[in-house]
Symmetry: C2
Subunit: 308 residues, 2 copies
């Protein structure tokens, strides 16, 4: 199965592969714990047993795992690695301070190196920086000059990053966040503008149903407008609980993914239950579901019914 999928990656223009085209499901480390480190290697077999084909590392802190051994663990489980990069206020391509921008670029290059060394090809996330709610700073009004300045910084940083990622065989995917988490990129339209302006062949868009539910006029329309520039996908319920337990229009969402012939990853990132401090730090003030692995399997199976 894994081999077939890799073949399709390389020869997706061939008709015999067209018939095999389908999204593949992955799950993020954050669902269990953060930051991700060596001690979490057993999560890979849990993910595989639950039925996932990929595993996304929430790359929040400096690398806390031995990349050679972790690459072996991925290979042993037959799981494809991807990385979700998480800029913060100290490593931010949009920042005014050139040191913070340099730290942002260095951090993102490290994420590129990590995924390449693990045998993977995708780094996604809010690569532009400008973290608001989770940045530990008060929300601020961004006036037009501030927005223009940040935009220039981001375009410049993404150009350098794309070039570096290309040299390592890695693709990037820029994720719009909801209005509370950033002011720089809140719509598919914003991400597409960034991607167009940077103009790198390995820079695409990452869409997340959780953020789209807050800011887009229509989730399916945003997916269709992104079209072939969709490089990665996060499938989250409106309240970040188990997929199927909220009101995201999953049928219309997967129909739109089929309309654009998306055959990439669909990553689940449910937040877990109230007694998990991680949940609280993610502004989850009540249980989103039982939050155990059975619940996670249920979420995967629920989504799989729309994807075939």
């Amino acid at each position: 199965m894994f081999t077939l999928v890799m073949v399709c990656d390389h020869f997706s223009h061939l008709e015999f592969c067209e018939r095999e085209r389908a999204v593949r499901f992955s799950v993020i480390s954050l669902t269990w714990d953060a930051p991700f480190g060596d001690a979490h290697a057993p999560l890979l077999s849990e993910a595989r047993e639950l039925g996932f084909e990929g595993f996304e590392i929430f790359f929040e802190s400096p690398r806390q795992f031995d990349v050679v051994r972790m690459a072996e663990a991925f290979a042993a489980e037959g799981l494809t690695p991807t990385i979700c990069a998480v800029p913060n206020r100290d490593r931010d391509l949009s920042a005014d301070d050139p040191k913070v921008r340099a730290a942002g670029l260095a951090y993102l290059k490290d994420a590129v190196d990590a995924v390449a060394d693990l045998g993977g090809q995708i780094v996604g996330g809010p690569l532009y920086g400008d973290q608001v709610f989770y940045g530990g700073v008060p929300a601020q009004l961004h006036d037009a000059p501030t927005r223009a300045r940040k935009r220039r910084n981001v375009v410049d940083g993404l150009r350098q990053l794309s070039e570096y990622a290309g040299s390592r065989g890695v693709s990037l995917a820029v994720e719009p966040l909801n209005r509370f988490e950033t002011a720089t990129c809140t719509l598919a339209e914003h991400a597409l503008e960034l991607v167009d302006e940077v103009g790198a062949p390995n820079l695409a868009v990452l869409l997340d149903t959780y953020h789209m539910n807050i800011d887009e006029s229509s989730i399916p329309d945003a997916i269709r407008a992104t079209g072939s520039r969709l490089g990665h996908f996060h499938a989250n319920e409106n309240h970040r609980g188990t997929p199927g337990s909220g009101h995201i229009p999953w049928d219309a969402t997967f129909s739109a993914l089929r309309d654009i012939n998306y055959d990439g990853w669909v990553v689940l990132e449910p937040f877990r239950r109230r007694d998990n401090p991680l949940g609280l730090s993610q502004a989850l003030w009540r249980p989103a579901g039982p939050g155990d692995n059975d619940d996670l399997r249920g979420g995967l199976e629920y989504l799989q019914q729309f994807s075939s």
Copy 2:
């Protein structure tokens, strides 16, 4: 029309009034400008001309209007006043500092006085305080003891406020906000728990489709679970644009309101376009629609089709 409505308010058990039962539409001052003051009296005739029967004052700052003259303006237009109270970090029933709690109570009593003096009967909003995103402070983790302490403060404050409001013939409605705007009350279930614990006959729940879209599992189910304890309602698009321009399930929402025989106010609070600094301060980083009065009329007419 205004007279008939008042009769129905007082005798809604009478069968002849049952036939007249329907929601009534109102619009918030915030849609045009803030803070609301004497200079905004002409907005009342704009609202009436657009087809609204009520006008909600976004009571953000110390009162900036002459209540006698404003009451005359409401009466002249035949509009019913309601007030949306907006606690902040300096006036907060949930605060540890007793002075801040006292300021919160004094502010809310002033809102009660204002609506009573204007000839109205409802003060709604996040009366419990605990403002996060718009509070100008970084988001913080609320551990269990913090949550319990805030809850006790809020229940105590709402008991005093309800008693005072009752003496002025005013009803209160507690509004859950989304997870980024507060940590104290993010679900209808949380508001119902508060209302039950306070146990005052004039304390009910205010639901807002914008916040429900982020945090509830199902908007119609949350409305039905609130049932007769729903005292006020805010009808906002998922992205705060004109109703009908996003993906809130309006048909199912109004069906649920009919199921529970809700015959109160439905208040529109769209944010306006990008060149309005107010929009930026509300984390609206792009246009939600043209944002003029024609657009607002369109939103009202769109919702009216579901409410008859």
